[in-house]
């Protein structure tokens, strides 16, 4: 019973389980073995974006709510984590040359003489973990409540989330003394003395990140395969019918928006830990739209597909932006338009359309003798060969 529940609801049946297994082997075994630490750390960074992409599967793919502000939540999660690390990195001994030792360096440069009140609780690691999860979620709740209760949706919602991304960026950049400004929060070092810059720490953080990502995928799968998931699809199709079937549609939208915010925030916190800093350039419009592109390329209906989408687009970005830095943005735009126009279901859609045929083809080769036998019978005058063909395709 429990096994069956695990299999059907969390792994997503046979196909889902195979997809998860392949991705797990790739991320947990192949990549750590094949790549040097620098490259692996890069993959780890990309995988933190995958959290945001997964959150967009829930919100955009299933819920039909396009948020162009997932960077906000990614950033809030990242900043919460960075605040803790920065406080620990700013002990009175290392900052003794400052006019006020014991506070983060950028505060000292901006003539602050004590830690601002909202920084104080970040002395505690458990508070920080809670804040990573709850601050973005509460923020999303406020946005979601005020918009969905008034039935703001579609393009208007997308634009408003984008504006929020801009506002938050401007706020962070402007409030240099409290946020570190345009440079962000840098020079992060340790958690309770555990140095996050060590080689071994980098491996550990990579694996923590990978396991969290799978945890988030399992949670999302569980929710999407419940009645809640079907209701999201139903709302996307006929919102009024859902409303007049007795559901408070806005509550469902608020929930999925909050959940997507929390998932993105986990990614943001893991980003800070693995990359060692957080800055406004991961909060604003560009990262938010990039996250949407990862989801679109990977396939916005596929929790697994978007992980591949994120990795692929980011590898592309790394390779192309090294060789043609000025062309990359255009290429990215073209990629987005191309995917939306020709492959609306992204990589996952292409796989479903052609990959399964490929598998069928491989299987066909296994029963080549069987086919030969059928050809023999056709030669003999009967014609079940055509049927065999159809069976092989539809049998998948």
């Amino acid at each position: 019973m429990v096994m069956n529940f695990m299999y059907e609801r969390i792994l997503g049946g046979k196909n889902g389980a195979i997809g998860i297994a392949i991705l797990a082997v790739l991320i947990i075994i192949i990549l750590p073995l094949a790549l040097d630490l620098f490259r692996l750390n890069l993959v780890g960074k990309y995988l933190t974006y995958a959290f945001a992409a997964v959150s967009l599967v829930l919100l955009w793919g299933y819920g039909g709510i396009l948020s162009l502000g997932q960077g906000v939540f990614f950033g809030l999660g990242g900043y919460c984590m960075a605040m803790f690390l920065k406080i620990e990195a700013s002990d009175p001994v290392t900052t003794s040359i400052q006019s006020t030792p014991g506070i983060p360096d950028f505060m000292d440069w901006n003539q602050l003489t004590e830690l601002p009140w909202f920084w104080v609780p970040f002395n505690s690691f458990s508070f920080t973990i809670l804040a990573v999860l709850l601050v973005p979620t509460i923020f999303a709740f406020i946005i979601g409540f005020s918009m969905f209760k008034r039935r703001v949706g579609g393009v208007y919602f997308a634009i408003i989330t984008q504006i929020i991304a801009v506002i938050l960026t401007v706020l962070i950049v402007g409030q240099q003394g409290y946020t570190g400004g345009i440079n962000g929060i840098t020079d992060l070092k340790t958690i309770h003395g555990w140095d996050i810059r060590d080689d071994s720490s980098k491996y550990i953080l990579y694996f923590i990140n990978a396991f969290l990502l799978f945890g988030v995928i399992f949670l999302s799968r569980y929710i999407l395969t419940s009645k809640f998931g079907r209701l999201l699809l139903a709302m996307k199709d006929k919102e009024d019918r859902v409303r007049f079937s007795g559901y408070d549609v806005s509550n469902f939208k608020i929930f999925v928006f909050c959940l997507s915010a929390m998932i993105s925030a986990i990614g943001g916190a893991m980003f800070t830990l693995q990359v060692g800093f957080m800055s406004p350039s991961f909060v604003g419009i560009v990262p938010s739209i990039e996250m949407v592109i990862y989801a679109a390329v990977g396939g916005r209906m596929s929790l697994i597909g978007v992980v591949y989408g994120t990795l692929l687009v980011n590898f592309g970005k790394t390779i192309f932006s090294e060789t043609f830095p000025e062309l990359w943005l255009y290429l990215m735009g073209a990629l987005f338009i191309g995917v939306v126009m020709f492959f609306p279901n992204g990589l996952a859609g292409i796989w479903q359309k052609h990959g399964t045929k490929l598998v069928a083809c491989v299987k066909k080769m296994q029963c080549v003798s069987h086919v030969k036998a059928m050809i023999e019978t056709r030669r003999a005058g009967s014609k079940p060969a055509a049927r065999l063909n159809a069976e092989n395709v539809s049998g998948e």
Binding site: F228, L231, A234, K238, D240, R241, R243, F244, G246
Partner: protein, 247 residues
């Protein structure tokens, strides 16, 4: 006078859009077990009345009493939970889900966010879905994607999605539009069956069909009631003849 004997009591209901009164001090009372048909020329305000009852449109003034609830004060989903079901004019079903899933989603349990995540399809739910599917002639189409149903079957499915909620007031906006003769006969049979134990309010244009199903007919014209009574008396009413022939 007291309204509580009626399932639905609409009094002095008015809605105006920029000064245009789509529904003008309307009074309408519906009994239990009654099947009422509302007819009237285009623009008479028939659909608007349904919109007002189910909360899609907010009234300018007047009251809609359903059992002990004042519907004008409730949100759409609260009205549904009070026991009002409404079928839209064009079949409004979830095309990308199967017939079974359409009915399952409409099952009145797990309507909250967390309730829906924890919702389990128990044998009772399953049995109820199959029972309703059989009632709406779709027992053999449970696994079919509902987009592939015929227009008439989609109409039935939407009725089924309401029936599974067991509403006390069922409102159907043009239930036989686009149906074949055979499908019409089946729908007639369905409607006479389902109005037992509840009230049904139907909007329909097809007069032959109205004559077959209606217990009582209300004729709307320019947001007001022109005539009310059994089909024959309404058909012989000179005002009604005037309005219909005039168009």
């Amino acid at each position: 006078m007291t309204n509580t004997n009626f399932v639905l009591a609409i009094e002095d209901l008015t809605v105006s859009f920029d000064g245009f009164k789509a529904v003008d001090s309307l009074n309408l009372y519906l009994d239990k077990d009654e099947l009422r048909v509302v007819i009237g020329p285009n623009g008479a305000g028939k659909t608007t009345v349904l919109d007002l009852i189910c909360g899609k449109t907010k009234s300018t003034s007047g009251s809609i009493k359903f059992k002990s609830y004042e519907l004008t004060d409730l949100a759409e989903h609260e009205i549904v939970n009070a026991g009002v079901g409404r079928k839209f004019q064009t079949p409004s079903i979830y095309e990308n889900l199967s017939v079974y899933e359409n009915l399952e989603i409409s099952f009145p349990k797990g309507r909250g966010v967390f309730g829906s995540i924890a919702f389990k399809n128990t044998p009772e739910v399953d049995a109820r879905i199959k029972e309703v599917a059989a009632e709406i002639f779709l027992g053999e189409f449970l696994d079919m994607e509902s987009a592939l149903l015929s227009h008439g079957q989609k109409q039935w499915l939407e009725i089924g999605m309401l029936l599974i909620q067991d509403p006390e007031l069922l409102m159907l906006d043009e239930p036989v539009a686009g149906m074949s003769v055979k499908e019409r006969d089946q729908t007639e049979d369905l409607l006479t069956r389902i109005c037992k134990g509840r009230s049904v309010l139907v909007i329909e244009h097809d007069m032959d069909f109205v004559a077959k199903i209606a217990h009582k007919v209300t004729v709307l014209h320019q947001g007001r009631i022109l005539a009310e009574g059994d089909m024959r008396s309404v058909q012989n009413n000179p005002d009604v003849i005037e309005v219909y022939l005039g168009h």
